[in-house]
Amino acid sequence: MSLVVLIIILIVGGLLAIFAERVGTHLPRWVSLATIVVALIYILGIVSSLPPEQLTITAGPNAASNWLIHLKLEWIPRFGISFELAMDGLSLLLVVLTLLLGLIAVSSSWVEIDFKQGLFQANILWTLAGVTGVFLALDLFLFFVFWEVMLVPMYLLIAIWGHENKAYAAMKFFIFTQFSGLLMLLSIVVLAWQASLANGSYSFSYFDLLGAQLNAKLAFWVMLGFFLAFTVKLPAFPFHTWLPDAHTQAPTAGSVLLAGILLKTGAYGLLRFCIPLFPQASMDFAPVAMAMGAAGVIYGAVLAFAQSDFKRLVAYSSVSHMGFVLLGLYAWNNLALQGAVMQMVAHGVSTAALFMMAGAIQHRLHTRDMHKMGGLWHNAPRMGACALFFALASLGLPGLGNFVAEFLVLVGLFAVQPWINALAALGMIGAAIYALWMMQLAFQGKPDEEREFFDFGIREMTTMAAMMIALVWLGIYPQPVLDLAQPVLDSLQNIVGPASEITGVKP
């Protein structure tokens, strides 16, 4: 039940936030903060009460007992749909990341929102609840429900509190993800139906669908349905076009949530569902997926360099960084997979920080145009230092989390596809260019002396410091994260088959 309680905490917190607004205008943000902290303490409490050796079990995931926590309740027995939630090391990592970035999101919008704060905080909490559900659901129907439901509060965040072009951005975001979601629903239904022909009864449970035998042609199309839904969300080139608009127009908290955790649901879906459910089809499709990843890395970097809008630049850099995740996942060997997981975490933190920076600048200058900035370091040295730190993290400076992630992906990928690897490595040069370019335009140069500009205060510095510590820790001592993910990756690789089958490389 504990996982259900976790989701309920977040949902109820949202309702409380709405009512809190009647008591005091600024109360909702405290409610929101308290809710996330409670959820975080709750989940960590549960995990710490588990026997520690359970975190290192490497058995196949298709037995419920091998999961840290597993819950299965009947929901719609007519179609064999159950309310099945489960957590392993990977889900735990991502849920904790979700909640931590939730805190960052609340902090980043502490003073930004002046309209219906209660509803705003409720939408943040409900988005978190939806994303948590996505990371925990093991029934494919339930997974789809969370997958779609998390979009509605996100849509409202962009549509109500967004910037000048919010209608277009919110609509584009929703339609892209919904259309691909419908294809995934179709795939889920086809998969469950095919499995039911073999098993004799309907089931949407992950355990029952793993290893379902589909004929090769059907498996390819069904896999494509999943792949599209996840790569649109990731986003991978060429399905990324919704992302720059949505990120740019969203309020700061919305951008933080979008970049920090919503994108990770796509990567998680590929890793947990798409590849293990269709090992053979994914293996055949891997070169295309990796080509898309490499194209995304380079294309994102080039386009990031061409932007003058601070948020758009960061958004395109996300396309570039998520390309590495796609590469790592489809290289499908231990190093590359570890790199992909690491990138999910590190990119979540570094991009959230950059979006918070963009939000802070916009709040002060009322513009995102970097040509109108310049010399901000002079006005606000603390902001400048923070921005430099995260720009360096984003370009992959050794010693920070992103470097570890990209390095692992590239090492793993080299064994599989050296040429694609070489192309993708070019993206890191691109990253150095756009990150430094951004620093140069916004923070260096001649300052505008007339400008009234407040530097970061205690709240913002605390938030930034927390993220800096996280990135340094990930960069210098990433082993705990790797250890947490390792059993999951091992068992997933056991399902799909030895890595050599997929990659043609001896481990």
Partner: protein, 481 residues
């Protein structure tokens, strides 16, 4: 007829009796409040009577009516939908002020027609129900608001619907000539021996498909829909879009089942074509509308397109139970959702704007002015768009399941594309509703009566419940089919 037979058609008797009482009441003493109360009592009694009527079902009551649980479920649903319409329209009519009592009488009569359709087991009763429902609707459209737009809509509906009925009737006559019977079950036996290429049957089929396709507003017989929806008073439009469509569809399904019309491939194929056309054209045309009623009209065309998929899937004998179950679930979900969506259009009115003509900007900022009604619309729109946790999603999931099991990839492709297009125009309304105060300058007013609020909450709750705990209804539908 014996007592058990009377018991089995109790909802029809209650509605007919209620209509008579209403007529007398109006003749002797005009009083809107009393009429509203009597209407509500009649409709709710009609809905409750299905519990008792269920005890003596299933049985034939004369060769014309077959009282089985399916008929009862839908009779109950139609009564409830009409009751919701009654509550939602009471404020609407109060503003008209001009002797609105007959409106309720017509509503009860139209509901009676819909219930007869749900019971129909014979082409004669099908036609009787159809006409009873439609004729009352013509008057309903024109009655409350005596301005040009509703009159135009009523005349248009009268002429076109009359022509469609005549076409279908001619088809029935030809069918009678070929089969020698009008009862559904007997007809099935006769048709089994009929020569497939029989010209009479072919012509009959074309005329009936055209006639009933018009009533269901399937493309290309949909031309009347937006104009009539646009012109009719909002509560009547809601009734027309939900109950009248559902009643005809139920009758159609019963006919297909009893006469096993599924075996005619050419009929099934042409229905598949109509379904694809309706899904695509309905959704594409809805994109162009800025008038919410017209938008919902086109969306209802698309939804009927989704719905007739189940007739196509039903042609596979193994999947027929699943398909029919899916169709019935879809109808129930669609009825609740449509009543809710038009309920909002009934409730809000903006100053200085003609009420029948609600544009997107008229709902601007509704979330901040009227949170409850905005939530009603939000839930209804999400359900129409098929977002999870609402009734519409489970209904769509059912359709996916049945179409996938029958390998109907073209239908599925149209369903996916149509739904994706649909999201745009549904979301656009939501977007307008969330616009901030400074971005618009209208101030929609809405009644705050206890009944209206209660019915809004009930509609929201039923849509969400159907979407989150669908199992009981699924089991029930499965047990009665």
């Amino acid at each position: 007829m014996n007592a058990a037979e009377f018991q089995a058609i109790l909802p029809l008797l209650v509605l007919a009796g209620g209509a008579t009482v209403l007529m007398l009441q109006i003749a002797f003493m005009r009083n809107v409040k009393l009429t509203t109360a009597l209407t509500l009592v009649t409709l709710i009694a009609g809905a409750l009577s299905i519990i008792w009527a269920g005890e003596s079902a299933p049985r034939f009551v004369t060769p014309l009516l077959r009282a089985d649980h399916l008929a009862l479920v839908f009779a109950g649903l139609f009564c409830l939908a009409a009751a919701a319409t009654t509550v939602l329209s009471s404020d609407y009519l109060a503003q008209r002020g001009d002797q609105p009592e007959e409106y309720f009488l017509l509503l009860v009569l139209s509901t009676l027609g819909a219930c007869v359709l749900a019971y129909a087991a014979h082409l004669a009763s099908l036609l009787l129900g159809l006409e009873l429902m439609s004729v009352a609707l013509y008057a309903l459209i024109a009655y409350p608001d005596k301005t040009t737009l509703p009159l135009e809509a009523a005349i248009k509906y009268l002429v076109l619907s009359g022509a469609a009925t005549a076409t279908a009737l001619f088809g029935f006559a030809l069918l009678y000539a070929a089969a020698g019977t009008l009862g559904f079950a007997a007809m099935g036996d006769q048709l089994a021996n009929a020569h497939v290429g029989n010209a009479t049957l072919l012509v009959a089929a074309v005329m009936i498909v055209a006639g009933l396709g018009f009533k269901l507003s399937l493309v290309p017989f949909h031309m009347w829909t937006p104009d009539v929806y646009d012109g009719a008073p909002a509560p009547v439009t809601g009734f027309l879009a939900s109950v009248s469509k559902a009643a005809i569809f139920v009758a159609l399904v019963r006919w297909f089942l009893a006469s096993d019309l599924f075996r005619f491939n050419i009929l099934i194929d042409s229905i598949a074509v109509l379904a694809i056309l309706s899904m695509l054209a309905g959704n594409l045309l809805a994109l162009l509308q800025s008038n919410i009623k017209r938008m919902l009209a086109y969306s209802s065309i698309a939804h009927m397109g989704y719905l007739v998929i189940i007739l196509v899937v039903g042609s596979n004998i193994d999947l027929r139970p699943l398909a029919i179950e899916a169709g019935m679930y879809y109808l129930i979900a669609y009825t609740a959702t449509t009543v809710a969506a038009f309920g909002l259009l009934t409730l809000i009115s903006t100053e200085g704007n003609h009420r029948e003509n609600i544009q997107l900007h008229d709902v601007s900022g509704l979330f901040w002015h009227q949170p409850l009604y905005a939530c009603l619309m939000l839930v209804a729109l999400l359900s129409l768009a098929g977002i999870p946790l609402t009734a519409g999603f489970i209904a769509k999931f059912y359709l996916f399941n049945s179409a996938v099991s029958d390998y109907r990839w073209f239908l599925l492709a149209s369903l996916v594309i149509g739904s994706a297009i649909g999201i745009y125009y549904y979301l656009r309304v939501i977007f307008y509703m969330t616009r901030r105060v400074e971005e618009h300058n209208n101030n929609p007013v809405a009644p705050n009566g206890l009944m209206v609020r209660a019915i809004s909450c009930a509609l929201i709750a039923s849509i969400l419940l159907l979407g989150t705990v669908p199992q009981p209804l699924m089991e029930y539908l499965r047990s009665i089919l």
